[in-house]
Symmetry: C2
Subunit: 187 residues, 2 copies
DNA sequence: ATCAAAGTGTACTGATCGGTAAGTATTTGC
DNA sequence: GCAAATACTTACCGATCAGTACACTTTGAT
Protein backbone atom coordinates (compact mmCIF):
# COMPACT_ATOMS: atom_id res chain seq x y z
CA UNK A 1 0.00 0.00 0.00
CA UNK A 2 1.84 3.05 -1.21
CA UNK A 3 0.77 5.93 1.01
CA UNK A 4 0.40 8.32 -1.94
CA UNK A 5 -1.99 5.94 -3.69
CA UNK A 6 -4.22 6.01 -0.64
CA UNK A 7 -4.07 9.80 -0.51
CA UNK A 8 -4.97 9.97 -4.16
CA UNK A 9 -8.05 7.85 -3.52
CA UNK A 10 -9.05 10.08 -0.61
CA UNK A 11 -8.64 13.19 -2.75
CA UNK A 12 -10.78 11.81 -5.54
CA UNK A 13 -13.41 10.44 -3.16
CA UNK A 14 -13.58 13.85 -1.53
CA UNK A 15 -14.57 15.44 -4.83
CA UNK A 16 -17.31 12.90 -5.48
CA UNK A 17 -18.72 12.92 -1.94
CA UNK A 18 -18.69 16.70 -1.92
CA UNK A 19 -20.45 16.91 -5.26
CA UNK A 20 -23.02 14.13 -4.83
CA UNK A 21 -23.39 13.52 -1.10
CA UNK A 22 -22.50 10.54 1.06
CA UNK A 23 -25.49 8.23 0.85
CA UNK A 24 -25.96 9.07 -2.81
CA UNK A 25 -22.42 7.96 -3.62
CA UNK A 26 -21.92 4.22 -3.78
CA UNK A 27 -18.61 2.44 -3.62
CA UNK A 28 -19.14 1.26 -7.19
CA UNK A 29 -19.34 4.84 -8.41
CA UNK A 30 -16.14 5.66 -6.56
CA UNK A 31 -14.43 2.65 -8.10
CA UNK A 32 -15.40 3.87 -11.56
CA UNK A 33 -14.43 7.49 -10.88
CA UNK A 34 -11.07 6.66 -9.32
CA UNK A 35 -10.21 4.00 -11.87
CA UNK A 36 -9.02 1.77 -9.05
CA UNK A 37 -10.33 -1.75 -8.62
CA UNK A 38 -12.86 -2.52 -5.96
CA UNK A 39 -10.52 -4.96 -4.29
CA UNK A 40 -7.81 -2.32 -3.94
CA UNK A 41 -10.34 0.11 -2.62
CA UNK A 42 -11.17 -2.26 0.20
CA UNK A 43 -7.48 -2.97 0.81
CA UNK A 44 -7.03 0.70 1.63
CA UNK A 45 -10.30 1.23 3.49
CA UNK A 46 -12.03 -1.55 5.33
CA UNK A 47 -15.44 0.07 5.07
CA UNK A 48 -17.15 3.00 3.41
CA UNK A 49 -17.32 4.70 6.77
CA UNK A 50 -13.55 4.48 7.15
CA UNK A 51 -13.17 6.11 3.74
CA UNK A 52 -15.56 8.90 4.66
CA UNK A 53 -13.67 9.55 7.88
CA UNK A 54 -10.41 9.79 5.92
CA UNK A 55 -12.10 12.19 3.48
CA UNK A 56 -13.29 14.37 6.35
CA UNK A 57 -9.84 14.42 7.90
CA UNK A 58 -8.36 15.64 4.62
CA UNK A 59 -11.09 18.22 4.19
CA UNK A 60 -10.69 19.50 7.73
CA UNK A 61 -6.97 19.90 7.34
CA UNK A 62 -6.99 21.53 3.92
CA UNK A 63 -9.95 23.80 4.59
CA UNK A 64 -8.59 25.11 7.87
CA UNK A 65 -5.15 25.56 6.36
CA UNK A 66 -6.62 27.45 3.44
CA UNK A 67 -8.76 29.83 5.47
CA UNK A 68 -6.02 30.41 8.04
CA UNK A 69 -3.53 31.32 5.32
CA UNK A 70 -6.04 33.47 3.45
CA UNK A 71 -6.92 35.36 6.62
CA UNK A 72 -3.29 35.99 7.51
CA UNK A 73 -2.58 37.29 4.02
CA UNK A 74 -5.46 39.76 4.25
CA UNK A 75 -4.99 41.31 7.70
CA UNK A 76 -2.49 41.36 10.53
CA UNK A 77 -4.43 42.48 13.59
CA UNK A 78 -6.57 39.89 15.37
CA UNK A 79 -9.74 41.95 14.90
CA UNK A 80 -8.87 42.51 11.25
CA UNK A 81 -8.36 38.79 10.77
CA UNK A 82 -11.78 38.01 12.19
CA UNK A 83 -13.30 40.37 9.66
CA UNK A 84 -11.07 38.95 6.93
CA UNK A 85 -12.53 35.49 7.51
CA UNK A 86 -15.69 36.75 5.85
CA UNK A 87 -13.77 37.88 2.80
CA UNK A 88 -12.32 34.39 2.60
CA UNK A 89 -15.82 32.93 2.83
CA UNK A 90 -16.91 35.16 -0.02
CA UNK A 91 -14.06 33.87 -2.19
CA UNK A 92 -15.09 30.34 -1.34
CA UNK A 93 -18.75 30.93 -2.20
CA UNK A 94 -17.76 32.20 -5.62
CA UNK A 95 -15.63 29.20 -6.47
CA UNK A 96 -16.81 26.94 -9.28
CA UNK A 97 -18.51 23.90 -7.86
CA UNK A 98 -19.17 25.47 -4.46
CA UNK A 99 -21.61 23.16 -2.71
CA UNK A 100 -21.70 24.37 0.86
CA UNK A 101 -19.90 23.06 3.90
CA UNK A 102 -18.98 19.38 3.78
CA UNK A 103 -19.25 19.09 7.56
CA UNK A 104 -22.72 20.55 7.77
CA UNK A 105 -23.72 18.05 5.12
CA UNK A 106 -21.99 15.20 6.93
CA UNK A 107 -23.77 16.15 10.13
CA UNK A 108 -27.04 16.29 8.23
CA UNK A 109 -26.63 12.84 6.72
CA UNK A 110 -25.31 11.17 9.88
CA UNK A 111 -27.45 12.66 12.58
CA UNK A 112 -26.89 10.48 15.61
CA UNK A 113 -24.70 12.57 17.91
CA UNK A 114 -22.44 9.62 18.70
CA UNK A 115 -21.93 8.45 15.13
CA UNK A 116 -18.21 8.65 14.24
CA UNK A 117 -18.90 10.76 11.15
CA UNK A 118 -21.09 13.16 13.11
CA UNK A 119 -18.45 13.37 15.85
CA UNK A 120 -15.75 14.19 13.34
CA UNK A 121 -17.86 16.87 11.67
CA UNK A 122 -18.51 18.41 15.08
CA UNK A 123 -14.81 18.33 15.84
CA UNK A 124 -14.09 20.40 12.72
CA UNK A 125 -16.59 23.00 13.85
CA UNK A 126 -14.99 23.05 17.28
CA UNK A 127 -11.57 23.70 15.75
CA UNK A 128 -12.99 26.51 13.63
CA UNK A 129 -14.50 27.99 16.77
CA UNK A 130 -11.19 27.70 18.62
CA UNK A 131 -9.44 29.63 15.89
CA UNK A 132 -11.87 32.53 16.19
CA UNK A 133 -11.82 32.37 19.98
CA UNK A 134 -8.04 32.68 19.93
CA UNK A 135 -8.28 35.77 17.75
CA UNK A 136 -10.98 37.22 19.98
CA UNK A 137 -8.78 36.79 23.05
CA UNK A 138 -5.80 38.37 21.31
CA UNK A 139 -7.99 41.26 20.24
CA UNK A 140 -8.88 41.86 23.88
CA UNK A 141 -12.61 41.30 23.59
CA UNK A 142 -14.68 41.65 26.71
CA UNK A 143 -16.16 38.15 26.51
CA UNK A 144 -14.04 36.40 23.86
CA UNK A 145 -15.90 33.08 24.00
CA UNK A 146 -19.26 34.72 23.44
CA UNK A 147 -17.90 36.93 20.68
CA UNK A 148 -16.36 33.91 18.99
CA UNK A 149 -19.64 32.02 19.22
CA UNK A 150 -21.45 34.94 17.61
CA UNK A 151 -18.88 35.24 14.84
CA UNK A 152 -19.29 31.54 14.17
CA UNK A 153 -23.06 31.97 13.98
CA UNK A 154 -22.56 34.54 11.24
CA UNK A 155 -20.14 32.27 9.39
CA UNK A 156 -22.42 29.25 9.50
CA UNK A 157 -25.40 31.37 8.61
CA UNK A 158 -23.56 32.82 5.63
CA UNK A 159 -22.71 29.34 4.38
CA UNK A 160 -26.29 28.12 4.68
CA UNK A 161 -27.65 31.26 3.06
CA UNK A 162 -25.13 30.99 0.22
CA UNK A 163 -26.47 27.52 -0.51
CA UNK A 164 -30.20 27.90 0.01
CA UNK A 165 -31.13 31.58 -0.02
CA UNK A 166 -29.34 32.79 -3.13
CA UNK A 167 -30.61 36.23 -2.21
CA UNK A 168 -28.10 39.10 -1.85
CA UNK A 169 -24.54 38.76 -0.62
CA UNK A 170 -24.49 36.75 2.61
CA UNK A 171 -20.73 37.02 3.13
CA UNK A 172 -20.88 40.81 2.90
CA UNK A 173 -23.90 41.07 5.20
CA UNK A 174 -22.20 38.78 7.69
CA UNK A 175 -19.00 40.80 7.45
CA UNK A 176 -20.78 44.01 8.36
CA UNK A 177 -22.61 42.38 11.25
CA UNK A 178 -19.31 40.95 12.48
CA UNK A 179 -17.72 44.37 12.36
CA UNK A 180 -20.48 45.76 14.53
CA UNK A 181 -20.11 42.93 17.03
CA UNK A 182 -16.36 43.49 17.15
CA UNK A 183 -16.66 47.22 17.73
CA UNK A 184 -19.06 46.62 20.56
CA UNK A 185 -16.96 43.89 22.16
CA UNK A 186 -13.78 45.97 22.00
CA UNK A 187 -15.15 49.35 23.05
CA UNK B 1 -58.37 8.09 -1.61
CA UNK B 2 -59.63 9.70 1.54
CA UNK B 3 -57.70 12.92 1.95
CA UNK B 4 -57.14 12.43 5.68
CA UNK B 5 -55.46 9.09 5.05
CA UNK B 6 -53.00 10.81 2.76
CA UNK B 7 -52.32 13.49 5.36
CA UNK B 8 -51.73 10.83 7.97
CA UNK B 9 -49.14 9.19 5.74
CA UNK B 10 -47.41 12.52 5.17
CA UNK B 11 -47.34 13.20 8.90
CA UNK B 12 -45.82 9.84 9.71
CA UNK B 13 -43.33 10.02 6.82
CA UNK B 14 -42.30 13.44 8.08
CA UNK B 15 -41.27 11.98 11.41
CA UNK B 16 -39.21 9.23 9.83
CA UNK B 17 -37.52 11.43 7.24
CA UNK B 18 -36.76 14.01 9.90
CA UNK B 19 -35.29 11.42 12.23
CA UNK B 20 -33.34 9.29 9.74
CA UNK B 21 -32.78 11.44 6.64
CA UNK B 22 -34.09 11.14 3.09
CA UNK B 23 -31.70 8.78 1.34
CA UNK B 24 -31.37 6.66 4.45
CA UNK B 25 -35.14 6.10 4.58
CA UNK B 26 -36.45 3.55 2.12
CA UNK B 27 -40.04 3.17 1.05
CA UNK B 28 -40.10 -0.25 2.68
CA UNK B 29 -39.24 1.27 6.04
CA UNK B 30 -42.02 3.82 5.59
CA UNK B 31 -44.46 1.06 4.71
CA UNK B 32 -43.57 -0.75 7.93
CA UNK B 33 -43.68 2.38 10.08
CA UNK B 34 -46.99 3.64 8.71
CA UNK B 35 -48.62 0.21 8.71
CA UNK B 36 -50.00 0.96 5.26
CA UNK B 37 -49.48 -1.43 2.38
CA UNK B 38 -46.94 -0.61 -0.27
CA UNK B 39 -49.64 -0.60 -2.91
CA UNK B 40 -51.62 2.06 -1.05
CA UNK B 41 -48.48 4.07 -0.52
CA UNK B 42 -47.96 4.26 -4.26
CA UNK B 43 -51.65 5.00 -4.82
CA UNK B 44 -51.19 8.19 -2.82
CA UNK B 45 -47.73 9.15 -4.06
CA UNK B 46 -46.48 8.18 -7.47
CA UNK B 47 -42.83 8.39 -6.45
CA UNK B 48 -40.69 8.82 -3.38
CA UNK B 49 -39.87 12.32 -4.57
CA UNK B 50 -43.55 13.24 -4.63
CA UNK B 51 -43.87 12.01 -1.06
CA UNK B 52 -40.86 14.04 0.04
CA UNK B 53 -42.29 17.16 -1.59
CA UNK B 54 -45.57 16.62 0.25
CA UNK B 55 -43.64 16.18 3.50
CA UNK B 56 -41.75 19.41 2.91
CA UNK B 57 -44.98 21.28 2.18
CA UNK B 58 -46.44 20.11 5.47
CA UNK B 59 -43.27 20.96 7.34
CA UNK B 60 -43.08 24.41 5.79
CA UNK B 61 -46.65 25.19 6.70
CA UNK B 62 -46.58 23.88 10.25
CA UNK B 63 -43.17 25.25 11.11
CA UNK B 64 -43.93 28.73 9.84
CA UNK B 65 -47.31 28.72 11.55
CA UNK B 66 -45.73 27.61 14.80
CA UNK B 67 -42.96 30.21 14.86
CA UNK B 68 -45.29 32.99 13.72
CA UNK B 69 -47.75 32.21 16.50
CA UNK B 70 -45.02 31.81 19.10
CA UNK B 71 -43.48 35.13 18.13
CA UNK B 72 -46.81 36.94 18.28
CA UNK B 73 -47.51 35.51 21.71
CA UNK B 74 -44.17 36.73 23.04
CA UNK B 75 -44.00 40.31 21.76
CA UNK B 76 -46.17 42.87 20.04
CA UNK B 77 -43.79 45.38 18.50
CA UNK B 78 -42.09 44.44 15.22
CA UNK B 79 -38.61 44.82 16.73
CA UNK B 80 -39.66 42.80 19.76
CA UNK B 81 -40.99 40.07 17.50
CA UNK B 82 -37.70 39.82 15.65
CA UNK B 83 -35.94 39.31 18.96
CA UNK B 84 -38.66 36.89 20.08
CA UNK B 85 -37.93 34.66 17.08
CA UNK B 86 -34.73 33.66 18.86
CA UNK B 87 -36.64 32.68 21.98
CA UNK B 88 -38.80 30.49 19.78
CA UNK B 89 -35.69 28.94 18.26
CA UNK B 90 -34.40 28.20 21.75
CA UNK B 91 -37.64 26.41 22.62
CA UNK B 92 -37.31 24.40 19.44
CA UNK B 93 -33.69 23.41 20.13
CA UNK B 94 -34.70 22.06 23.52
CA UNK B 95 -37.48 19.88 22.19
CA UNK B 96 -37.06 16.13 22.46
CA UNK B 97 -35.91 14.72 19.18
CA UNK B 98 -34.65 18.03 17.82
CA UNK B 99 -32.60 17.20 14.74
CA UNK B 100 -31.95 20.53 13.08
CA UNK B 101 -33.70 22.16 10.18
CA UNK B 102 -35.39 19.79 7.76
CA UNK B 103 -34.86 22.20 4.86
CA UNK B 104 -31.15 22.61 5.43
CA UNK B 105 -30.95 18.83 5.45
CA UNK B 106 -33.07 18.54 2.32
CA UNK B 107 -30.86 21.07 0.57
CA UNK B 108 -27.82 19.12 1.72
CA UNK B 109 -29.08 15.81 0.39
CA UNK B 110 -30.43 17.20 -2.89
CA UNK B 111 -27.78 19.64 -3.93
CA UNK B 112 -28.52 20.43 -7.55
CA UNK B 113 -30.00 23.93 -7.51
CA UNK B 114 -32.78 22.97 -9.94
CA UNK B 115 -33.82 19.77 -8.20
CA UNK B 116 -37.49 20.08 -7.11
CA UNK B 117 -36.64 19.17 -3.52
CA UNK B 118 -33.83 21.72 -3.39
CA UNK B 119 -36.10 24.35 -4.93
CA UNK B 120 -38.79 23.71 -2.35
CA UNK B 121 -36.30 23.89 0.53
CA UNK B 122 -35.03 27.20 -0.84
CA UNK B 123 -38.60 28.47 -1.09
CA UNK B 124 -39.14 27.82 2.62
CA UNK B 125 -36.04 29.84 3.44
CA UNK B 126 -37.30 32.64 1.21
CA UNK B 127 -40.62 32.73 3.05
CA UNK B 128 -38.83 32.83 6.39
CA UNK B 129 -36.76 35.71 5.11
CA UNK B 130 -39.88 37.53 3.89
CA UNK B 131 -41.42 37.29 7.34
CA UNK B 132 -38.41 38.93 8.95
CA UNK B 133 -38.16 41.52 6.18
CA UNK B 134 -41.78 42.50 6.77
CA UNK B 135 -41.09 42.99 10.47
CA UNK B 136 -37.94 44.97 9.69
CA UNK B 137 -39.90 47.31 7.43
CA UNK B 138 -42.63 47.77 10.04
CA UNK B 139 -39.97 48.51 12.65
CA UNK B 140 -38.66 51.29 10.43
CA UNK B 141 -35.18 49.91 9.90
CA UNK B 142 -32.81 51.93 7.78
CA UNK B 143 -32.12 49.10 5.30
CA UNK B 144 -34.80 46.51 6.11
CA UNK B 145 -33.66 43.97 3.51
CA UNK B 146 -30.10 43.96 4.76
CA UNK B 147 -31.21 43.79 8.38
CA UNK B 148 -33.50 40.88 7.55
CA UNK B 149 -30.70 39.08 5.78
CA UNK B 150 -28.46 39.53 8.79
CA UNK B 151 -31.15 38.32 11.19
CA UNK B 152 -31.59 35.27 9.00
CA UNK B 153 -27.85 34.63 9.11
CA UNK B 154 -28.03 34.52 12.89
CA UNK B 155 -31.04 32.20 12.80
CA UNK B 156 -29.45 29.75 10.38
CA UNK B 157 -26.17 29.93 12.25
CA UNK B 158 -27.93 29.21 15.53
CA UNK B 159 -29.60 26.14 14.03
CA UNK B 160 -26.35 24.77 12.63
CA UNK B 161 -24.51 25.46 15.87
CA UNK B 162 -27.26 23.81 17.89
CA UNK B 163 -26.76 20.67 15.84
CA UNK B 164 -23.00 20.50 15.41
CA UNK B 165 -21.32 22.77 17.95
CA UNK B 166 -23.07 21.77 21.16
CA UNK B 167 -21.03 24.47 22.80
CA UNK B 168 -22.85 27.18 24.80
CA UNK B 169 -26.27 28.59 24.02
CA UNK B 170 -26.45 29.53 20.34
CA UNK B 171 -30.01 30.87 20.51
CA UNK B 172 -29.08 33.23 23.33
CA UNK B 173 -25.87 34.39 21.63
CA UNK B 174 -27.80 34.96 18.42
CA UNK B 175 -30.50 36.83 20.28
CA UNK B 176 -28.02 39.26 21.77
CA UNK B 177 -26.33 39.83 18.43
CA UNK B 178 -29.72 40.42 16.85
CA UNK B 179 -30.56 42.99 19.50
CA UNK B 180 -27.38 44.87 18.71
CA UNK B 181 -28.12 44.80 14.99
CA UNK B 182 -31.63 46.06 15.64
CA UNK B 183 -30.51 48.93 17.85
CA UNK B 184 -28.04 50.02 15.20
CA UNK B 185 -30.52 49.75 12.34
CA UNK B 186 -33.18 51.73 14.21
CA UNK B 187 -31.04 54.45 15.74
C1' DA C 1 -78.30 -4.06 -2.24
C1' DT C 2 -74.97 -2.52 -5.35
C1' DC C 3 -71.03 -0.73 -7.37
C1' DA C 4 -66.91 1.70 -7.43
C1' DA C 5 -63.28 3.67 -4.86
C1' DA C 6 -59.81 2.71 -1.74
C1' DG C 7 -57.74 -0.54 0.93
C1' DT C 8 -55.13 -5.09 1.59
C1' DG C 9 -51.09 -8.87 1.23
C1' DT C 10 -47.79 -11.08 -1.38
C1' DA C 11 -44.77 -11.70 -4.61
C1' DC C 12 -42.13 -9.87 -7.99
C1' DT C 13 -38.87 -6.76 -11.13
C1' DG C 14 -34.16 -5.07 -12.34
C1' DA C 15 -30.86 -2.15 -10.26
C1' DT C 16 -27.91 -0.99 -6.76
C1' DC C 17 -26.16 -1.29 -2.04
C1' DG C 18 -21.72 -2.52 0.83
C1' DG C 19 -18.51 -6.00 0.84
C1' DT C 20 -15.89 -10.53 -0.51
C1' DA C 21 -13.52 -14.70 -3.03
C1' DA C 22 -10.38 -16.50 -6.16
C1' DG C 23 -6.97 -16.22 -9.28
C1' DT C 24 -3.69 -13.38 -12.11
C1' DA C 25 -0.65 -9.49 -13.28
C1' DT C 26 2.53 -5.91 -11.93
C1' DT C 27 5.51 -3.29 -8.97
C1' DT C 28 8.71 -3.00 -5.37
C1' DG C 29 12.72 -3.62 -2.23
C1' DC C 30 16.62 -6.30 -1.48
C1' DG D 1 16.82 -11.67 -10.45
C1' DC D 2 13.69 -12.99 -7.21
C1' DA D 3 10.24 -13.01 -3.74
C1' DA D 4 6.75 -10.48 -1.44
C1' DA D 5 3.62 -6.96 -1.51
C1' DT D 6 0.28 -4.66 -3.99
C1' DA D 7 -3.05 -4.13 -7.66
C1' DC D 8 -5.67 -6.15 -11.01
C1' DT D 9 -10.20 -8.51 -13.25
C1' DT D 10 -14.25 -10.89 -12.80
C1' DA D 11 -17.67 -12.83 -10.64
C1' DC D 12 -20.18 -13.22 -6.79
C1' DC D 13 -22.81 -12.60 -1.93
C1' DG D 14 -27.25 -11.36 0.57
C1' DA D 15 -29.69 -7.18 1.41
C1' DT D 16 -32.00 -3.37 0.05
C1' DC D 17 -33.40 0.11 -3.37
C1' DA D 18 -37.70 2.27 -5.91
C1' DG D 19 -41.53 0.70 -8.08
C1' DT D 20 -45.24 -2.77 -10.11
C1' DA D 21 -48.64 -6.79 -11.00
C1' DC D 22 -52.33 -9.24 -9.45
C1' DA D 23 -55.94 -10.91 -6.98
C1' DC D 24 -58.65 -10.01 -2.94
C1' DT D 25 -61.41 -7.32 0.84
C1' DT D 26 -63.30 -3.36 3.04
C1' DT D 27 -65.79 0.91 2.85
C1' DG D 28 -69.17 4.58 1.60
C1' DA D 29 -72.60 6.89 -1.09
C1' DT D 30 -76.55 6.21 -3.77
Amino acid sequence: MRPNKRDELVRKALQVFYRDGFHATGMDKLVVETGVSKTSMYKHFRTKEELILAVLRLRDESFRNWILRRVEETADTPAGQIVASFDALKEWFEEDGFRGCMFIKAGAEYQEADHPIHVQAAEHKRLMFEHIARLARKAGARDPEKLANQIVLLQEGAIVSAVLLKNGDPAEDAREAAQLLLETALA
